[in-house]
């Protein structure tokens, strides 16, 4: 790999430019008109302007991106995350034009891209899915199924979603009573009262495993991350390791992720996402993310690796130099996403000029950001402006460091979620690691609103 096109923006573009330079690879940044003066543009060896600010006319056009790569003599392309990173069309275009795509093959991407295909793949590899029934003809059939998987269970409508036909039952009596009600509700909503049953996860955690494959069947894992603090399925805080997991469960979780992606000889970085049932100490497959993820730095911090550089090496055809036993996980790391949104105004986006930017510094503090004093946060894209990553010898030390780092962080000129992040870091539930995927919306935000 001699010259790499970076088809992305913001902190990840900057991070990839630097990783390329560290490996002696030239960088060409493909930017929109709104990003032509960005920090990534300044550090890249060359910047080309793809199109106007609007993403559909610049970052989201696979042909434009591959044309830019060819016209600037690039032999590889890194898509970052978001935008085109999981579009098979881009991978195919790269493959057809002799450009190494920094990511999985088009075939792999299709195998894990669709939710149904991915679930079949997981089932085939013996990776657990949330136990569910087929269509149920009666409350008796539902009861029989519930006995096999255990309560609580939830009814779901075969014909649709959105909460209609969903009743949570903690006992046989509740299920018998709720079944008719749910069936009636489904019939009203979708014209079809057919129900099926799933095991209900009372207290869920979002746990995911970071992996890297060489494309020949060797797949390594870099431990798990706990990303349970979410708002509307958007992660806000991510940490590694998932301190909630018992060691035996953790080992099975890693093994499942590796088995799943080995089965398709997965190439490059990927993440296998799981729902973790805290009460039952069981995990269930959700989906595969076939790209580098926003939260990859927490895994880098505890494993002492550079996943982006590793991605570039693998895409350049180098074998994975590590063995699983070489990857030692040490200490704890937490990442928070700093976003240009105002939590006090219903998370209204807050683009504009940053007039003051004082990032925290100190032991165990890492900041992945392309922002600086005087920089403009454009209104056209995702509002994340920085990832603050802190690490320490254990979770308690790391949480204390996070609190200090957040207190020291000053951003003026635009509204951000810094105050909310401070509130999270200081909350007893977070400090004592008692949260679930519903915690941020149900407990933290109301508590934040009360001040």
């Amino acid at each position: 790999m001699k010259r790499l096109l970076i088809a992305n923006r913001g902190e990840i573009a900057l991070r990839i430019v630097r990783a390329a330079h560290a490996l002696g690879i030239e960088s060409v940044l493909a930017a929109s008109a709104a990003d032509k003066d960005s920090l990534a543009a300044r550090e890249a060896d060359r910047t080309v302007v793809l199109g106007p600010a609007k993403a559909s006319l610049s970052y989201l056009d696979p042909k434009l991106v591959v044309h830019a790569a060819k016209a600037t003599g690039c032999d590889a392309l890194h898509p970052g995350y978001g935008f085109l990173s999981e579009r098979t069309a881009l991978v195919t275009l790269c493959e057809d034009n002799g450009i190494a795509f920094v990511g999985p093959t088009a075939t792999s991407m299709d195998q894990v891209g669709g939710k149904i295909a991915a679930r079949e793949l997981a089932a085939g590899a013996g990776v657990p899915l949330v136990p569910g029934s087929g269509a149920l003809a009666s409350a008796d059939e539902a009861l029989a199924f519930a006995e096999t998987v255990g309560f609580p269970v939830v009814t779901k409508a075969s014909a649709g979603g959105g909460g209609r036909g969903m009743v949570v039952a903690h006992s046989a009596a509740e299920l018998r009573e709720g079944f008719e009600r749910a069936s009636h509700e489904a019939k009203e909503a979708f014209g079809d009262g057919t129900l099926f049953l799933e095991r209900f996860v009372q207290t869920a955690r979002h746990i995911e495993v970071q992996v890297m494959g060489d494309g020949n069947g060797k797949v390594l894992h870099f431990g798990e991350r706990d990303c349970s603090a979410q708002r509307r399925y958007q992660k806000m805080v991510e940490e590694a390791p998932g301190a909630i997991l018992p060691d035996a469960v953790r080992a099975r979780l890693h093994e499942s992720a590796v088995r799943l992606l080995s089965s398709i000889k997965y190439r490059n970085a990927g993440t296998v996402e799981f729902l973790y049932d805290v009460e039952r100490q069981a995990f269930y497959f959700i989906e595969v993310n076939a790209r580098i993820q926003v939260e990859h730095p927490v895994s880098e911090q505890i494993c002492g690796v550079d996943l982006i550089q590793m991605q570039l090496r693998v895409a350049g055809g180098e074998p994975l130099a590590l063995e699983q036993q070489d990857i030692q996980r040490r200490g704890h790391a937490i990442e928070v996403r700093v976003i240009a949104e105002d939590p006090e105004r219903n998370f209204a986006p807050s683009p504009g000029r940053i007039t003051r930017w004082v990032p925290p510094v100190g032991d165990g503090v890492r900041l992945d950001s392309a922002m600086f004093e005087g920089a403009m946060v454009p209104p056209f894209y995702d509002s994340m402006i920085a990832k603050l990553i802190v690490s320490g010898s254990d979770r308690a030390t790391t949480v204390t460091r996070l609190q200090r780092a957040l207190d020291a962080f000053v951003i003026d000129g635009i509204a951000t979620n810094l105050r909310l992040l401070r509130h999270i870091a200081a909350h007893p539930d977070f400090i004592e690691n008692r949260i679930s995927t519903r915690w941020l919306e149900q407990t933290l935000l109301p508590s934040f609103a009360r001040g």
């Binding site: 008109a33 080309v48 275009l93 007039t355 005087g374």
Partner: protein, 160 residues
Amino acid sequence: MNKKPTAQDLESLMDMFEKSDWKELDLRMEGFELYLSKDPSRRRGGSTPPPRLRGEGAGEGPAPISAPSATSASASAVPAHWIAVKAPNLGTFYRAPKPGAAPYVQIGQVVTPETEVCLIEVMKLFTSVRAGVAGTVRQIAVQDAEMVEHDQVLMYIEPA
């Protein structure tokens, strides 16, 4: 050592200048010069690059574009009333509909806003660019089959 002004200082300075009734402002400090004028025809020392905002530290401050922009490079070389035809997106610039064919337009040719003046190709997909203005083609700013970027000047037309 003099402290260099921050991006913020410059922004407030420009803002105050804009709101003032001054016509020109010439600021010179050690290692730093700034010239502002409200007269578009005024330009100090022809080759002086446009003012750059610089932060204090090495890793700070908004950056100028690293790739050369044809827009700024040739802007000063043509009469102010000529109108630039710009590339709608990145692609390869072609003057003719196919290799060996006559170019869409020649210098000195009279065009209407609808006249096709060139092609931009993106992965074998050809999009024609129209003049957008009635006038006479005065300059072609790009070599045939060269890569152009979004907003790059392709040619100049003197309006009728």
